[in-house]
Subunit: 357 residues, 2 copies
DNA sequence: CGCACCCGGGAGAGCGCTCTCTGGGTGTGT
DNA sequence: ACACACCCAGAGAGCGCTCTCCCGGGTGCG
């Protein structure tokens, strides 16, 4: 049992001796390669059990040149390059890497972990939020500790996709890269999400429909808005008042205030994510506007924030876990055949109707 | 640059040849071991640069018997053992591993990642939410893919701590194990947290003080309540009405309703976590009780939920990131000297005064 | 009955690295 | 001046595994 405590756990050699066969045969049994006589297989398996053998990962990796691990890289712009302003100054913790505390990222890791463990694999978690950290990530991957990278990039100006592709590291992105890079990715049909929200608000009979958008230098924000606008135009609403937020609760509150100021007649609202929608709800309540009767509100993401709103938030669901799982599948495929062309998989959003609209 | 694409990246041998020295010398330079003549160091470093050499992790691990990696294991009770009821049925996703989406866990990983990367290390993320998954975790660790485990256990009946300790895997827990196990851990002084809340409510002149507790089979819940009660008793409040919740928003709403039913006179409230406090706030607003004027509310954790409440939640801050960092430090220490006795480090909570009390 | 073939198993060569051991040159003590 | 300690670089032995090569015996076909 506590062979590990003794110096060195049993090796292939030990098992082979115990079973009275050669190392190669034991290896074959373990890896299920080539036909090995069933009776011998049995003997070997028994020997493995009695010795308590576990294969040494490092030794295997050394010869197979495979780590059987992937990296999950969360990447944001670093302090050392003039990235977007704003959401850097979070709720007072001295810790960088609040990225990780974002439940959206939590959903991604849940999807990744869940997919990987069916293959007995587990991701290495890395944060690339500065030039230094990015260097570390690249070097880490080049050291072969992981066979490839799942890249979740927050900021548009993230150089990591290019860098990794250039370094020959297999790599799949969550969300389409802003600049064209020959790399696979998964994404959501954000426009369709915007359309879903528009259709829903129109079906609820709303006449004065507005939107709180995400930061407009983010593709997803642009697309959600574009889809929303197009659909409204088709429904005969050519003009949509907008306020830009930056995906935080506070920005949602600010945007809502501004919107009420400029367009007090608003009775339908599409907010580009749930957290901002929660902020909007706060302001609407303060101003005595009933939701959904006076103003119907549709969010985006179907995050836990949507459920903690009162009234519970009607929102456009993004199947983040499924997307993350698919992203992982694509990466493993890519690791197996490095030559293949990049692919993309686009997921469809769905409207989740709750109380707010 | 794209040496990687060509068959095989450069090895120590290549660098040695380029520099005109032996493999051993290059190794020494890389690992900064023993005195190597500065001029030779220089030559070697130049050779490393021109060849684009990166050390092969697997080869190094094989001989050092160190993975230079730790596992971050999130462990909950599995479906296959009669664990606690309740919070299994989350917001409709078919995915297990919602544990990961919990922002509390996000804060832990942020602390871990942030600490590790200063040592150029990164955690492997594992989920142990079933007997099978737990087996996988143990076997993975025994394979030596990680030198030790950071264990975040959700449920009281989690057998993993014992299992890992028995398997001789270095291991540090987040929170004291319910059953005594010879293992290091970090924890919060939960009683002090309860006391802080009590003192604050009393200082605010509240007379009818109640509490919504966490599940009482969790040590942390018990301790928070005990600390709260003791402090109130010292302030001359011998009796504290309580309702038990299970840390979810909905349970907070239920508990608040029940409390108002039984004790409509309540004017001060301590809630064992922020999410339940958010639920309580919803109910108070519905019932027309102003916060903090009619009822003062103090939460626990200082999570992002505290900031998304309106009014913003006064709460007891748990320095999760620092605790996670310390947990990691303890583990690395332990990996370095496996013989050492288990230690524990207890952190002090702090009251964060916002609007709700 | 002989030969080509196939299939199950063993032997052995590394994968890239670290680290001990060794040897030669230099510095220090008497 | 000599002996001894010391320090730096090289040689070489593995770490535990996979995988190719090879060999012996059984099978099918001519």
């Amino acid at each position: 049992m506590s062979d590990r405590a003794a110096k060195g756990s049993p090796t292939l050699e030990d098992v082979a001796r115990e079973a009275g066969v050669s190392r190669a045969t034991v290896s074959r049994v373990i890896n299920g390669i080539r036909n090995v006589d069933p009776s011998i297989q049995d003997v070997v398996r028994r020997a493995i059990a009695t010795t308590g053998y576990v294969p040494n990962r490092a030794a295997r990796s050394l010869v197979t040149r495979r780590a059987d691990t992937v990296a999950l890289v969360v990447s944001g712009a670093g302090a050392d390059e003039g990235g977007e302003a704003g959401d850097e100054d979070g709720p007072g913790t001295p810790f960088r890497g609040q990225l990780l505390a974002d439940p959206f990222f939590g959903r991604i890791s849940a999807g990744v972990v869940d997919f990987l463990r069916r293959r007995a694999m587990h991701p290495v978690l890395m944060l690339a939020d500065s030039t230094d950290a990015r260097k570390q990530v690249v070097s880490y991957l080049r050291q072969g500790h992981a066979d490839g990278a799942l890249l979740v990039s927050i900021h548009a100006d993230d150089p990591l996709p290019e860098t990794l592709v250039a370094a020959g590291v297999p790599c799949v992105l969550f969300a389409r890269p802003p600049r064209p890079v020959p790399v696979s990715y998964v994404d959501l049909a954000h426009r369709d999400g915007g359309r879903l929200a528009a259709d829903h608000l129109v079906a609820r009979g709303r006449q004065h429909i507005a939107s709180i958008t995400g930061p407009l230098d983010v593709l997803a924000s642009q697309d959600r808005l574009a889809g929303f606008r197009d659909a409204l135009a088709r429904h005969g609403h050519p003009y949509v008042p907008c306020e830009e937020g930056n995906f935080t609760l506070e920005s949602g509150e600010r945007a809502m205030s501004a919107l009420l100021e400029r367009h007090p007649e608003v009775d339908g609202l599409f907010v580009a994510n749930d957290l901002m929608a929660q902020g909007a709800l706060h302001v609407l309540r303060e101003r005595g506007r009933a939701v959904p009767d006076d103003v119907a509100v549709v969010g985006f993401d179907d995050s836990s924030a949507a459920l903690s709103c009162r009234p519970a938030l009607t929102t456009v669901r993004q199947p983040v876990e499924e997307m993350a799982a698919e992203m992982t599948r694509l990466l493993l495929e890519r690791v197996d055949q490095p030559g293949a062309r990049p692919t993309s998989v686009i997921f469809e959003p769905a409207l989740v109707a709750r109380q707010s609209a």
